[in-house]
């Protein structure tokens, strides 16, 4: 997958987002399979600086938002709604480390026979055990033990999220390497079970 700097279909200026030309304010005709990187105008890459993401999202929202097309012809209104929806989806998907890793995996695993259910050895047994322990803690209202479990789970969750970046390091090789993609799938699966546990713990003030 290479990053090509596309040109505006109307004025031929270089585009940032494939959706819209910031030079001549023209909506672009985009194929339905446009990916989130093209929507936001980032190279295909795991590491995205959160400030850059915020800034890109804001600057594109400021030109695409349907509010600015209230008096525009129907066709432009429709394009603005469609483009804004795509922008929001892409932005939300890229904000979270796990959802960004999951999105990249979905791009690269197309046509590859990955096992979508893999987990580290013994992980499921441990998760079930932790769910039962959490039951007891929630019933006992032992807040210090509950806080301890909360902290431990959060540490574990962070640890899992730290596994993604090294796997994306050799990015040029990644799309071909099923073994790395499978490892990534395993971490993403494990993350979901941990998040499930964390979701059960009530927020403290």
């Amino acid at each position: 997958m290479t990053f090509e700097q596309p040109a505006c279909q109307k004025c031929e200026s270089t585009l940032i987002s494939h959706l819209f030309c910031l030079s001549c304010n023209a909506f672009q005709t985009v194929p339905p399979e446009i990916d989130y990187f093209e929507v936001l105008g980032f190279p295909v890459c795991f590491e995205i600086n959160s400030e850059d993401l915020e800034e890109r999202y804001k600057s594109l929202s400021l030109v695409l938002h349907p509010d600015f097309f209230a008096a525009a012809p129907e066709e432009e209104k429709r394009l603005s709604e469609k483009a804004s929806a795509m922008l929001n989806t892409a932005y939300n998907s890229f904000r979270g480390t796990t959802s960004r890793a999951g999105y990249l995996l979905s791009l690269f695993s197309k046509g590859k026979n990955l096992n979508e259910r893999t987990l580290p050895d013994g992980f499921l047994q441990e998760m079930f055990f932790l769910q039962e322990s959490l039951d007891e803690l929630l019933e006992s209202s032992d807040s210090s033990a509950l806080n301890k479990m909360n902290e431990d789970l959060r540490t574990r969750h962070k640890e899992i999220e730290s596994y993604y970046a090294p796997l994306f390091k050799n990015f040029k090789d990644l799309p071909e390497d099923s073994d790395i993609l499978q490892q990534l799938q395993t971490h993403l699966n494990a993350e979901r079970y941990l998040r499930r546990l964390l979701d059960r713990i009530p927020a403290t003030d």
Partner: protein
């Protein structure tokens, strides 16, 4: 008691199914599920369906039958898959243990 422990990576739900087999019929079944309402309903329905059934018969239960009975929406189909996986896992464990024992 034979155990089947399975999980749904789509959402992080976990389900433990216990079956009491004697000698080849499920005399009793119990479940404990950590998950959404659809996952709990799927496990509950499954335990009702497998009680009194022969193992070979219980093994044939399909997730689509569970999904249809509960009228699960498409986004919750994986909950019925979890239930099918659980009974298959429990029966598989029972059968492989039997072979080792006998």
């Amino acid at each position: 008691m034979e155990l089947g422990l399975v999980g749904a990576p789509e959402c992080g739900d976990v389900m433990k199914l216990q079956i009491q087999v004697n000698p080849e019929t499920n005399e009793d079944a119990k479940f404990k599920t950590y998950g959404c309402g659809s996952a709990i309903a799927s496990s509950s329905l499954l335990t009702e369906w497998v009680k009194g059934r022969h193992l070979d018969d219980a093994e044939q239960i399909k997730n689509t039958e569970i999904a249809e009975e509960l009228a699960l929406p498409p986004v919750k189909i994986h909950c019925s898959v979890l239930a099918e996986d659980a009974i298959k896992a429990a029966i598989h464990n029972y059968k492989s243990r039997k072979k080792i024992d006998v």
